[in-house]
Symmetry: C2
Subunit: 476 residues, 2 copies
C-alpha cells in the first residue's frame, strides 16, 4: 500500500506528502543527538535534545514552549490554544531520551548517524530513537502544520499541549512529581500517548492498554567470604546453587508465576477482549524468526502469544550474577549470588503489592543455610487502559482509518506489553488515555539497528492531523 | 601443647628452636613479595619471588640452585646430593606464587605486610601466602639445617631435591611440560608434597590423597539480541531461566551429581578408609562457624562432612552471570547466560571424561529454543593418593610422630579436598607421594586474613628434619 498513490485523497495527506522533507530533516537532526538518559555522562546531550525539540516546536508555531527542569533530565512543554474557547484540550505524551546502544558492534550503521535503508516493506530510517520515541514525537510537528493547513485555521481545532519527558528510558523517576507540580498547566480532557505502534505496516490499529511494572533485586548470602571449593565444596550451601533453585521455581509447569497471590487481582480476559485480540493478524513464525531468534514460543498455558505479551502478567529474570566471572576458573564457593527480576502487571494488579509477594516467595523457597535480602524499590508502574467504547476512542479510530484509507470499524485493537508512566498521567491528571504511535513490533526498539518504517511515519503525521479535527466534536 | 616445653627432647628440635628467628626473618622477607600469578601485572613480583627463594636456598647450603623459566612464571630447582651414593632421592614439591587478595577491605592487616597476631592457639603470622605455600616451603630451609646439625653431617642422609613452581594458583599450566622436559634432573624415589596441612593444631596427621579437578563453562543462547521484556516477556525462552533450571538440576534430591556416568569410576570407600577418616577429630559446629558461616552442613547423603570434602567427588558452580547487572533495572530478556563449574574428582575418575559428561548432561536438560556451548578445557587435574602401607609412609609417620611427641600409630590419616599438579608428579616421575604440610583447615587460605600458626611452622621444620633421617633407611 504505497503512500505515494493513496486511494482517496484528503487535504491533510496532501500537505503531509508535500512536506515530508521537513519531517525527515527534523528527525535526522534530532536523532544525531545521543540523548541516552540511563548514562549520566550523556546528561549534556539529553539537555541538548530538549533544547532542539523546544526550538522545533517554536518553529512549528507553538506560541508557548518551555523547558521544564527536573532533578534529572529536563522535559519539554508546549501549548497551542484553540481559537475555540470551548474546544477540548488534548495532551500529547512522549519522550526525547533514548535507550543505550550497546552492544555497539551489532549495529549495521552508527546508531547516531541516521541512515536510510531499503527494506521489504519500503524505505526505513535506522538510528537509536528512530521510533522510540523521537519518530513518534516528530510526526506531531508535521501533523500540526497539516491540520492547520488542511482546515485553513490559524490555531488548532482543539487546544494541543505536549509534554515530552527526558527520563522515560530510565524509569521516569521524576515524572510523577513533575505532573503534580505542573498539574494546572497540564490540565486536559484527554491524553494522547505517542510512544507505541501498530500491529503491522498495513494493519491500522490502536493500542488499548499497557502493562504495569514492578521490579525486585534478590541477594542470597552463604559463606562469610568466598570459600575454597576444594576445602568446602560439597559440604556447605552454595548461594549460586540456591539462586538457581529459587529462580528455577519462578514459574510452574504451566508457565504461571509462582509468587503467592500474584494472580489474585488479575481481571480475567472477557470473551470480547479475546475475540478483538484474535482479529489482529500475527504471524507467529515471522515474529519468532525476528530478533527473538527462537524456534519456539513459550509461556503461560492456555493463552496465545499476543495474549501472553499484552494481556497477561509475566515475570522475567533480567540479570543474574555471582562468583567468579573472569577468564579461566577460580575454585570458589562465592559468598553471594544476585538476581534482578521485573514483573509485568495487568489490570487490576498493583505494583506496590509485588514486593511483599516476592519476599514471601523467597522466604518459602530459601534453602537452609542461605540468607536472603529482597530489595523492591517503591513506585513501579501501574497498568493502564483505554475505554474502548468512548467518543474519544471513536475519534481516534476515525483519524487512523482516514490515514489508512479504511473504515473506523476496521481499525483493530492491540495491547502494548511494555510499561511507561502513562498510569501516572491518568492518576494525576484524571484524563482518559488514547494511544497514537507509528511503531511496529519489528522495529527493534531497545536493540541494535532500531528503525522506523518511513511510510508509518507519514501515516502517523496524517493521523495526528485528522485527530485534532476529529476530537474537536467530542464532548468530554 | 606449647612448643617451648617439649616432653621429649631431640637434637633436631634443639636446633630448630634455637634458630626460629632465621625461619621468621626468611618468611617475613619472602611474604613481602606479592607473587600473585593469576594477575599478569604481578609477573615481575613472581620473578622476584623466585630470585629470593633461589638466594635463600644457596644460603641454606644447597650446592645446586637454578631458576627454571617457563612460558609463564619461573620455577626454582635445588639439589643437595647425599654423601651416601646408595641413599634414596626425595623431591620436595611446593609453589612460590600466591592467590589474589581481593576483597582487600576484608583484610585486618595489609596482605603483604606480615603481621604477628595472638590467637586462641598461640601466635599467628598473617599474610597472603603465610601457609599457602611460602610457609610450607620455608620450613624446609630450617629443616634441612636442623637435619645436618642434628646428625653431624655435611650432606643430607638422602639426596634432597626441591621443585618450587610459580603457577600453582593459576592452574599450573606449564608444569607438566616442565616435568617432562626436566625429568632426568627431577628423577627421584619419592615426592614429598609440602602444600597441605594437618587436621588440628594438636593432631599430628598425614594427608593421603588429593582430589582431582575438571572445569567447564556453559553458555546458553536465546534471542539474537537482548530483547525488550515488555514486548517479548512471557512468550520466548529466557536464557537466564534456562540456566537456573539447568543448574538447579546439577544435584539430585540425595545431593548426588547428576552428570551421566559421573560416579562410574569412583572407587568406593573401604570400611578401613572410613574408619581411619572417622578417627580424625572434627568439630563440625566449629568448622561451620568459621569462614563457612553456615548453620548447616549439606551434601551427598550417606557421607560425613569430612568424607564429602575429602573422599567424594563434588560439583560446584563457581560463577554465573548474564543480562543486566548494573544499578536500577533494565527490562531485557538477555541473549545469553553463562556459568562456570568445577568438579572435584576422586580415584579412579579421570578429568578428561568430564567434558563429555557435562555435554551430555546439558544436551539432555536443554529447554526448547535455547542453544548451548559447553567449553571444557583440556587437561584438568587427576586425583592422586599415597600408599598407606608403604615403608616410605612409615618413615613419614615416624617423622611426624617425633615432632609431635607421640607414636607413629597415633598419626592420623586425612584427605585433602583441594587439587594440585601432584598427579603430574606421579605420572611423569613415576614416584610415590608423601604429604608433609603445616597448614590447618582454619588458616583461611585463598581468603582474606590468611595465616599460619607459628607452632605449626616449628613442627613442620622439625618433622622435615626427622624425615630426611628416617627416609635414609627405606629401600624403594
Amino acid at each position: 500500500m504505497p503512500v505515494s498513490s493513496p486511494e482517496r485523497d484528503n487535504a491533510e495527506r496532501t500537505y503531509v506528502l508535500a512536506h515530508l522533507d521537513d519531517l525527515h530533516a527534523d528527525l535526522d537532526a534530532w536523532l544525531r543527538i545521543p540523548s541516552i538518559s540511563a548514562d549520566p555522562t550523556y546528561a549534556p546531550e539529553v539537555a541538548a535534545s530538549a533544547t532542539w525539540l523546544a526550538e522545533a516546536l517554536r518553529r512549528t508555531g507553538f506560541p508557548t514552549v518551555e523547558i521544564w527542569p527536573t532533578p534529572g533530565a529536563p522535559a519539554v512543554f508546549a501549548e497551542w490554544p484553540s481559537d475555540d474557547a470551548a474546544a477540548p484540550v488534548a495532551l500529547v505524551y512522549g519522550h526525547h531520551d533514548v535507550q543505550p546502544v550497546d552492544p555497539l558492534d551489532l549495529w549495521e550503521h552508527p546508531p547516531f548517524e541516521p541512515t536510510r535503508v531499503d527494506g521489504p516493506d519500503g524505505p526505513e530510517l535506522h538510528a537509536r530513537g528512530a521510533i522510540d520515541d523521537k519518530g513518534n514525537v516528530a510526526f506531531h510537528l508535521l501533523g500540526m502544520r497539516a491540520h492547520l493547513a488542511a482546515t485553513g485555521r490559524d490555531a488548532p481545532a482543539v487546544t494541543v499541549k505536549l509534554l515530552i519527558e527526558g527520563e522515560e528510558e530510565s524509569g521516569s523517576p521524576h515524572f510523577a512529581a513533575l505532573l503534580k507540580e505542573k498539574a494546572d498547566r497540564l490540565a486536559c480532557d484527554v491524553v494522547v500517548v505517542s510512544d507505541t505502534g501498530m500491529a503491522a505496516p498495513d494493519v491500522p490499529s490502536a493500542v488499548t492498554a499497557m502493562r504495569g511494572l514492578a521490579d525486585a533485586e534478590i541477594t542470597l548470602r552463604g559463606p562469610a567470604v568466598d570459600l575454597h571449593s576444594g576445602s568446602f565444596g560439597g559440604a556447605v550451601p552454595n548461594p549460586l546453587h540456591a539462586m538457581a533453585k529459587l529462580l528455577a521455581g519462578l514459574h510452574d509447569e504451566q508457565g504461571r508465576v509462582t509468587l503467592p497471590g500474584f494472580y489474585d487481582k488479575v481481571r480475567p480476559l472477557s470473551d470480547r477482549e479475546r475475540e478483538l485480540m484474535g482479529r489482529v493478524p500475527f504471524d507467529e513464525q515471522a515474529w519468532l524468526a525476528g530478533p527473538a531468534a527462537s524456534r519456539v514460543a513459550t509461556g503461560e498455558e492456555g493463552f496465545t502469544t499476543l495474549e501472553r505479551t499484552g494481556a497477561r502478567p509475566t515475570a522475567e529474570v533480567n540479570g543474574m550474577w555471582g562468583g567468579y566471572t573472569g577468564p579461566g576458573h577460580k575454585t570458589i564457593i562465592p559468598a553471594e549470588a544476585h538476581a534482578k527480576l521485573t514483573f509485568r502487571l495487568v489490570a487490576d494488579q498493583r505494583p506496590e503489592d509485588v514486593g511483599a509477594q516476592v519476599r514471601a516467595w523467597v522466604e518459602a523457597n530459601l534453602p537452609a543455610g542461605i540468607e536472603a535480602d529482597v530489595h523492591t524499590p517503591p513506585g513501579g508502574v501501574a497498568p493502564c487502559a483505554s475505554d474502548l467504547d468512548s467518543p474519544a476512542m471513536d475519534a481516534l479510530l476515525r483519524a487512523i482509518a482516514q490515514a489508512f484509507d479504511t473504515d473506523a470499524d476496521r481499525v483493530l485493537f492491540t495491547r502494548e506489553g511494555g510499561s511507561g508512566p502513562e498510569a501516572d498521567l491518568v492518576e494525576v491528571l484524571g484524563a482518559p488515555l488514547l494511544f497514537l504511535g507509528a511503531g511496529l513490533p519489528t522495529d527493534r526498539i531497545h536493540s541494535p539497528n532500531e528503525r522506523v518504517l518511513l511510510s508509518m511515519l507519514t501515516r502517523g503525521a496524517e493521523a495526528a492531523a485528522h485527530l485534532w479535527r476529529e476530537l474537536a466534536s467530542v464532548r468530554f
